[in-house]
Amino acid sequence: MSDTTDFYAQPGEETQGTVYTAMGGDWAHIATEQAERSDEILVINMGPQHPSTHGVLRLILECDGETVLSIRPGIGFLHTGIEKNMEYRTWTQGSTFVTRMDYVAPIFNEVAYCLAVERLLGIEDAIPQRATVIRVLMMELNRIASHLVAIGTGGMEIGALTVMTIGFREREMILDFFEAVTGLRMNHAYMRPGGVANDLPETGIAQLRELIAWLHKHLPEYAAFCNENPIFKMRMIGIGHQDLSACMALGVSGPVLRSTGYDWDLRKQQPYCGYETYEFESKAWQPTDGWASSDSYARFRIRLDEMWESLKIVEQCADRLEASRGEPVMVADPKIAWPAQLALGPDGQGNSHEHIKHIMGESMEALIHHFKIVTEGFRVPPGQAYVPIESPKGEIACHVVSDGGTKPFRVHMRDPGFNHLQSVPIQCEGGMISDVVVAVGSLDPVMGGVDR
């Protein structure tokens, strides 16, 4: 077949360069012919609608055979303008927006945002102890849920489907608890500047104890399935390698940073929410027995270990919550606190009959106050704050600027996934195309957080 005849050219159109046409011969012949030309660089567009790219991530690959020569991530497909929208809502409504960023770990978005607003308000020390303990409890359960998604979907992408099915089973138990506490499985808007939206339901602690027992029973399954599974190890070890200096240069944190052996966990290094009073360890991967570090396998093992550490914290939280039953969960200042102590009804909606009775039947001033704080919100003194916390993925931080108004002047979320995707080229170039999926899975990006 002639190399320069283009069957699809319009009349009068000039053909330039080689024309590749896969027709008119058997495949082996075509393949040999292409191999002889030795210019078989293939441009592959992977995503944004691809099951293995964790949502709408687009990867543009240049491949020589199955070897990746160059890879460029393209993001922005899930950009929803959350940061801009928040500038037109009250500070409390901001919780509802940030929770939709990283939807696999929504509690962390909310806590980072609330801590930043509280720093601007200067009420960091006035947050009730019980509210902080509930925050820690929800964060650590959410960390387990998020790691389960990372491990589960990462396993599914390399064919370990059972890891996914059992991962989502455990996650669903955690989300059931979230639903009992906040009313929703995801998108909670449960953390509010000043505390949390409502206290645990009456059966909350009992359900939590059941959940802890369930996790104790089922978390060992992941290690049993995967840790020594030869196929799993062959797919993971040495894949997605990124050493410490590359992590530092590219702003990579969280389990990916700790997989290099550097023990950097903000819960330990810069404690917030009273993490210094809990007993747990931060986990960094030390290579043993010839296992490489800084790779996908190390990240998997760190996530596995961290789930156990989180479970330790959850148990300590349960004890503390039992001891502090009945204490307030919202800051005392009525100029900031949400007026009602809501209770979760059977319909999943928060409501407070006592509060309604009070404002509708007893006190005109209370009604005015309710109306003002709900529609107008509170004012936050001018200034800016940057509060980082340790999310399951790494450092998530909220940069908040206030001009003294009832609405944020500017909110910027630093999502760890945004930084981590920058390191896809350094992890994947020169490797096999099938390993791209493993490397991206080990970074655990959630596009809702990346694109915001």
Binding site: Y88, P382, Y386, Q422
Partner: protein, 262 residues
């Protein structure tokens, strides 16, 4: 910037090896010792850097936007200031400021300390040099750049666009914010990607959202918005969008045009 000529040295090259390093630099959180090790003249230079508050806006009236102010306070004029408590005598803050001023004299336009967070305001001409020293010097060693973001202050005349760099020193366990400004009619800031590769996507996002051009960035393209998008959405003059909603003859305007409190 225009002065990025070939004769200009990179910040890392400007430091000589034989320059003595004061104090220990291995123990995290050892700020107090290092502060003691600072010579008095460094403290004097720190004292000369302008502190003061930063007025970002002047406001008329008290309550609302989008309709007449019925509160009776409509003619009150007040200025919105970002507060500044001044450098505390305790902690590492004075030591770090003094060290930076020793390495880069007149590096700082203003030093702001507020709510436990230290901010260096740096002129954009000095940005690359300052960031280079902050990263490389053993006593500063802010080796990790978690975040870059922009803020648009439309009323901050001659400095409408701010770029905010958040730095983390893992060696010393400290955090620092570096802020630089650019006017609306010349929205150029030098890129720090050669120093901190992590800034790559962050600067692209800041360009995308605020229209700030980072000179020297390897490929400054849009990242979140589509390539052919017009305008920079996070700027304050960019409308939120939305359509008026009509219900039983009355019209509810979109959120950014509604009457609202502030």
């Amino acid at each position: 910037m225009s002065d990025n000529g070939p004769d200009k040295k990179l910040p890392g090259e400007e430091k000589s090896v034989d320059e003595p390093v004061e104090g220990t630099d291995s123990a995290p959180g050892a700020g107090l010792e290092r502060e003691d090790a600072q010579p008095d003249e460094a403290l004097d230079t720190v004292a000369q850097v302008p502190a003061g508050v930063h007025v970002i806006q002047t406001r008329k009236g008290m309550w609302s936007d989008g309709s007449g102010d019925t509160s009776g306070y409509g003619r009150i004029v007040r200025s919105v200031e970002l507060p500044n408590a001044g450098l505390p005598s305790e902690g590492w803050y004075t030591g770090v400021t003094g060290r930076l001023l020793k390495l880069v004299p007149d590096a700082l336009v203003r030093v702001v300390f507020d709510r436990g967070e230290l901010t260096f305001f740096v002129a954009r001409e000095k940005l690359t040099e300052v960031m280079g020293q902050l990263r490389d010097d053993a006593q500063l060693r802010f080796e990790f750049l978690p975040s870059v973001s922009g803020v648009n202050y439309p009323d901050d005349e001659g400095a409408e666009l701010h770029v905010v760099y958040h730095l983390q020193s893992m060696t010393h366990n400290r955090r620092l914010r570096v802020e630089t400004t650019a006017p609306d009619d010349d929205p150029h800031v030098p890129s720090v990607v050669p120093l901190y590769p992590a800034a790559d996507w962050h600067e692209r996002e800041t360009w995308d959202m605020f229209g700030i051009v980072f000179d020297g960035h390897p490929h400054l393209t849009r990242i979140l918005m589509p390539d052919d998008w017009v305008g920079h959405p996070q700027r304050k003059d960019y409308p939120l969008g939305g359509i008026p909603v009509e219900y039983k003859g009355a019209t509810v305007p979109p959120p950014d045009q509604r009457r609202s409190y502030r």
